[in-house]
């Protein structure tokens, strides 16, 4: 069964073609670079909060780590934008690969857990550190697993696609 035709229309658009085919260093690889920057900010900042909630770097005071959520959202915004551009460049490749939907679902859960950590653990200034850790440890484990899952599903997109572009 051929992929839906609208994928071909997207690929034929000027921006999609330019992103995919231009030899400029500011085309496809530039977008991919920002997707990696976003990953580093989003997952990196989450990792630090998760490690602390699990008690691995217990010396660090917990409450001030709330500032890291801004970095996480910055990373998320960069990756939502760069991800949309990557999807525009290769819509058939992404949308015909089940791993793409798995990746989106995992990211959805991971962001949900991130918001829960912010609200439940950092949202109540009356909590002391041990209560914060008690509330956050389980979520932190989920967070680490989900972000590893998101990276893994994302990496697999490079090796599991059926069509690179719309089949001619």
């Amino acid at each position: 069964m051929a992929p839906p035709l609208f994928l071909q229309s997207i690929e034929d658009s000027g921006l999609s073609t330019w992103l995919r085919e231009s030899e400029s260093p500011f085309a496809f690889y530039f977008v991919l670079l920002f997707h990696t920057f976003g990953l580093a900010l989003l997952v990196g900042a989450n990792t630090v909060v998760d490690l602390r909630l699990l008690g691995y770097v217990g010396e660090i005071p917990l409450a001030p780590l709330k500032g890291l959520f801004r970095i996480m959202w910055l990373g998320f915004a960069i990756n939502a934008c760069s991800g949309a551009l990557l999807l525009l460049a290769y819509p058939t490749k992404a949308l015909t690969n089940p791993f793409f939907y798995v990746k989106l679902a995992i990211i959805g859960f991971a962001v949900r857990v991130m918001v829960m950590i912010k609200d439940r653990v950092f949202g109540d200034p009356s909590l002391d550190e041990s209560s914060m850790m008690k509330r956050g440890a389980g979520l932190a484990k989920w967070s680490i697993c989900l972000w590893i899952g998101a990276i893994t599903a994302g990496r697999l997109l490079a090796y599991t696609y059926k069509y690179l572009v719309y089949p001619s």
Binding site: G44, T47, L51, V57, I60, G67, I148, I151
Partner: protein, 324 residues
Amino acid sequence: MNFSHLHLLLNHFPIIGGIIALGLFLTSFVGNNAGLRRASLILFVALALLALPTFFSGIGAKGELKAEPGISAALMDRHEGAAMLALFVMEIAGALALVELWRNQGSSTPRRRPGSILAILIFSLLTVGLMVRVGNTGGDIRHPEIRVGEGANETGLSAFVHVFEPSPDGFTQAMLISKWWWAFIMDLHFIGLALLIGTVGVLNLRLLGFLKRLPVAPLHALMPWAMAGFGINLLTGLFAYIGMPGYYTFDIAFWLKILAILLVWLNLAVFYLTDVFGTIERLGPGEDAPVFAKFIAGTALFLWFAVITLGRYIQPYNNTISIR
């Protein structure tokens, strides 16, 4: 300058440098000289890093020499296999030295840890022995006058060591055995990246004046995690390199990435081995780091993002270095 030049220049560091570092390390036991031991450990770490471009330039030199008349492919393969084994052993010695440096940080009288000292001793002795063999097998390629025996045949101790040396082609094939194995290596490389940038990033952002409610000293607890991330990426990066040596070696972005990694470590050395660390160690919540510490932190962040950028551009800059 070509790869052979670069290789001839760099190959002295792991061989001669390893002997010097081992000498300092052994001498440090006379009178239990902690300063000398620290110097030898720093040297082991530096040499483990310099061994990387030495190895990569060797692959480039191999590409240049392949077409030369009178060059034996078997001798080059033997040298490369010896270099692979020596490189991995040297990376372990460097990692052990780094852990020991970290544990003794800030104390003028390091605690005695016979286990880790013994491990460093064993791996540094192995490194020196294996590196001398790498030098000999490398010399054999161009110098028939120093060869012992015929071709790549081995006898005695050399034959014994050779058993543990990988076949370069076999190692490459093993890395390419399945796309799932390759995907796994790359997956770990990205997980290591997130761990590394997250942990290093928080410390450097704090020094730059962000997240100022955090005191600085406890943030150093993140550095072992950063080093774990670096270790994952060094190993997976080496595996990827060995899987596709030609792809990486003749790529300008790859070489600039290696240069950026070496500069990041130079930056780290300035941070921890000079007064900079002392000036920020006791900064409490809300306190500002001195300008030079901010400069070092900013440079570190810039270099780490440069490493990511150059890594990302390896693919489009493939085949940007040509050989004769």
